[in-house]
């Protein structure tokens, strides 16, 4: 939002340079995660138990899915505040339909994906066709979608889900292969987004738009279509995250998503993962590693008996650290140049 005063925007560095930068952020995150796990494990041995490690991974899936979508729009110089109510709407719609009408799981998946795509399409159309700044569009749809949640649920809440749903949220893939299903889903989606962003024309277009929308337009990038699709993907992923949320926790209320401030959490995760909020570059793996790191840190604070009220302060400090370190590095390279 702030162009750097006094100096023209540094043109997008060559692919090689920023790739090494991203890799370093990912390495830092992995190292930090390992260090936190080892430290917490030294102090409290239960921390290293298999069930706790599994819990920490599972716990990060919902946020990671939302943040993956957020990564796409932030790379394209956008932002999506409406992910929180989209997540909540998907959670409460699928949860209520499952408990009341016994909606089978596969149709819940389809329903939720379609719902997220439509809500994302509304965002995308408003951003790209009418040219309203994304932060305003999604601020408006945030209110709209939150209202839809209340209209649909009418104050009811989901207290339990059928077994098939619970299995989808917690269960292992097969008895001989104890990989939890949500983690498999996350891995598949992560690979898909990585392929999309790094190896398909769509990803190149998104990066081009994020670096310089005017240049991208003149270079023949279909700016409108690309942007719209980015918001559709973000909405779809947020809705899928909502379904996994209700399956994993077995509960959903009218303030699911908005109450936990998933919109701010997902932006924080993306930033910690090394994506630049000014757009133009970003890291899919960084985002997922960022959400795992956050989950590990929060869980270790629980194990170390730090009161829960300090979690968000820790998160804020991590954002500041992540962002200021990269901004200082930026200044150094400029001075050297």
């Amino acid at each position: 939002m702030l162009p750097i005063p006094g100096s023209p925007r540094v043109p997008a560095a060559s692919g090689h340079q920023w790739r090494t930068l991203l890799e370093s952020r990912e390495l830092i995150l992995i190292a930090a995660t390992v260090v936190v796990i080892l430290l917490a494990g030294l102090i409290n041995h239960d921390f290293l138990s298999g069930s706790n490690l599994r819990f920490m991974l599972l716990n990060s899936v919902v946020l990671a899915l939302v943040a993956l979508g957020q990564t796409l729009v932030i790379i394209a110089k956008g932002i999506d505040l409406s992910v929180a109510p989209v997540l909540g709407l998907a959670a409460i719609v699928s949860g209520l339909l499952a408990t009341r009408q016994g909606l089978p799981l596969w149709s819940a998946v389809l329903l939720v994906l379609a719902l997220g795509a439509v809500l994302g399409l509304i965002n995308g159309a408003l951003v790209s066709s009418i040219n309203i700044p994304p932060i305003i569009v999604t601020l408006g749809t945030y209110s709209l979608y939150s209202g839809l949640i209340f209209l649909y649920s009418n104050g009811d809440q989901v207290n339990s889900v059928p077994d098939s749903y619970a299995h989808f949220g917690n269960g292992a893939l097969a008895s001989w292969f104890p990989l939890p299903i949500p983690i498999l889903v996350l891995l598949v989606i992560m690979l898909a987004v990585w392929l999309l962003l790094g190896h398909l024309p769509f990803g190149r277009n998104i990066l081009a738009i994020g670096n310089n929308p005017a240049a991208a337009h003149h270079a023949g990038v279909p700016v409108k279509a690309t942007l719209t699709s980015a918001y559709v993907i973000t909405g779809t992923l947020a809705a899928l995250a909502g379904l996994i949320y209700v399956c994993y926790t077995g509960s959903a209320t009218a303030t699911t998503g908005t109450g936990d401030h998933f919109e701010l959490q997902s932006i924080a995760t993306v930033l910690i993962g090394g994506t630049a909020v000014a757009g133009g570059r970003g890291s899919v793996f960084g985002t997922v590693l960022g959400s795992t790191f956050l989950s590990v840190v929060v869980t270790s604070l629980v194990f170390l008996h730090v009161p829960a009220i300090w979690y968000s302060a820790g998160e804020g400090l991590m954002i500041l650290l992540a962002v200021t370190s990269s901004s200082l590095r930026r200044q150094d390279t400029r001075r050297a140049a």
């Binding site: 939002m1 408003l126 009418i130």
Partner: protein, 351 residues
């Protein structure tokens, strides 16, 4: 998150050099009047004399105070996501000083406002020193402030302030609530500050063209720091008023402020990328959204329908503005950017 340039047009529309001055404010004023008329005629119990109408404003003016404080920030092209947490912090801080340190509220309130200004200056310093987007910095600081506030408030935050203090939230002077008097005075102050002072001119110039502002000898960093101090101060004031309104404080009492206040500023016609907008527009938007909420609530709609309506109004208004008012095609935007005359007369700025 920089300027929007995401449309790919096939037709170049004629470029209108400058949107007609005040047309958005006129539209907002007409909308406000129509809305008040509509509610008065259709919703029984809405119109209860002029004083009833004025009293209704106490339900939403804390949002308006935050919105006023956000105006300069957004005029510089920045944003402050920490206003809600600063409001909560200051309210709790004031209550703690009063309850546990035995300060009179006359001393605690100024200290709480000072605390808000200091938190705002922390935002401003972080933004200018690290050259990081305000969105990130204020997102991060809001997390930190929220934690500190929750820790300060504890399980049983103070409540039950003396009546003289509560009057700030619910009392009235000759039938006009103190909140309204405060809001009107501050709105005039902000209007003069933005339109008539050197600082206000710098604020708009920073939002319009940061580099040019710097080259013309204006201290950009000081201006940016200033707007975040103002926004922190106004958030703190809003927190104090909310405390008086409820006669209680809670750590999360500021959470509701941000999105509504931001909506008010944006509906007021202030360009989210900075450089354009007026305090009058923001004030009208505060009244429109506030009375809309009250009208719908009195008509028996739930809080959530009201929220939806506010979201819808924001989107419809901005869509209408983009489609009708300003050039919205991509090439037209580019042309407009290059052909726009620089808005402030240089001799006044340079002195």
């Amino acid at each position: 998150m920089t300027r929007p340039a995401n449309a790919a047009p096939s037709v170049v529309s004629p470029v209108r050099r400058k949107p007609r001055l005040g047309s958005w404010e006129r539209a907002l004023a007409a909308l406000l009047l129509m809305q008040l008329l509509f509610f008065s005629l259709v919703v029984p119990g809405f119109f209860d004399g002029v004083s009833g109408l004025l009293n209704m404003t106490t339900n939403f003016l804390p949002f308006g105070l935050v919105a006023l404080g956000l105006v300069p920030v957004i005029l510089t092209g920045g944003i402050d996501l920490s206003v809600g947490s600063i409001a909560g912090f200051s309210a709790v801080f004031m209550a703690i000083l009063w309850k546990h340190f035995g300060l009179s509220l006359g001393a605690a309130v100024p200290l709480a406002l000072l605390a808000g200004a200091l938190l705002g200056s922390l935002n401003g310093l972080l933004i200018t020193r690290t050259r990081t987007e305000p969105l990130i910095i204020t997102l991060a600081t809001s997390f930190v402030f929220t934690s500190i506030t929750t820790a300060m408030a504890g399980a049983d935050p103070p409540s039950g302030f003396p009546d003289r203090f509560n009057a700030l939230g619910t009392g009235a002077l000759w039938g006009v609530s103190y909140q309204l008097i405060l809001f009107v005075v501050l709105a005039v102050v902000f209007g003069l500050l933005i339109a008539r002072t050197r600082f206000g001119r710098s604020v708009i110039m920073v939002g319009y063209n940061r580099d040019a502002t710097r080259y013309s000898g204006i201290n950009v960093n000081a201006t940016v720091l200033g707007v975040y101090v103002i926004s922190g101060l106004m958030a703190a004031l809003s927190g104090v008023v909310l405390a008086a309104y409820y006669s209680a404080v809670r750590g999360d009492m500021g959470d509701i402020l941000l999105l509504t206040a931001l909506t008010m500023v944006v509906l007021g016609g202030i360009n989210i990328f900075g450089g354009e907008g007026s305090v009058l527009g923001a004030v009208l938007a505060v009244l429109i959204l506030g009375f809309l909420r009250q009208g719908l609530l009195i008509a028996g709609f739930s809080d959530m329908v009201t929220t939806m309506a506010i979201g819808a109004i924001l989107l419809i208004a901005i869509t209408a503005k983009n489609l009708l008012g300003t050039p919205n095609t991509f090439v037209a935007q580019l042309q407009a950017r290059f052909s726009r005359p620089s808005p402030p007369p240089p001799e006044k700025v340079m002195e």
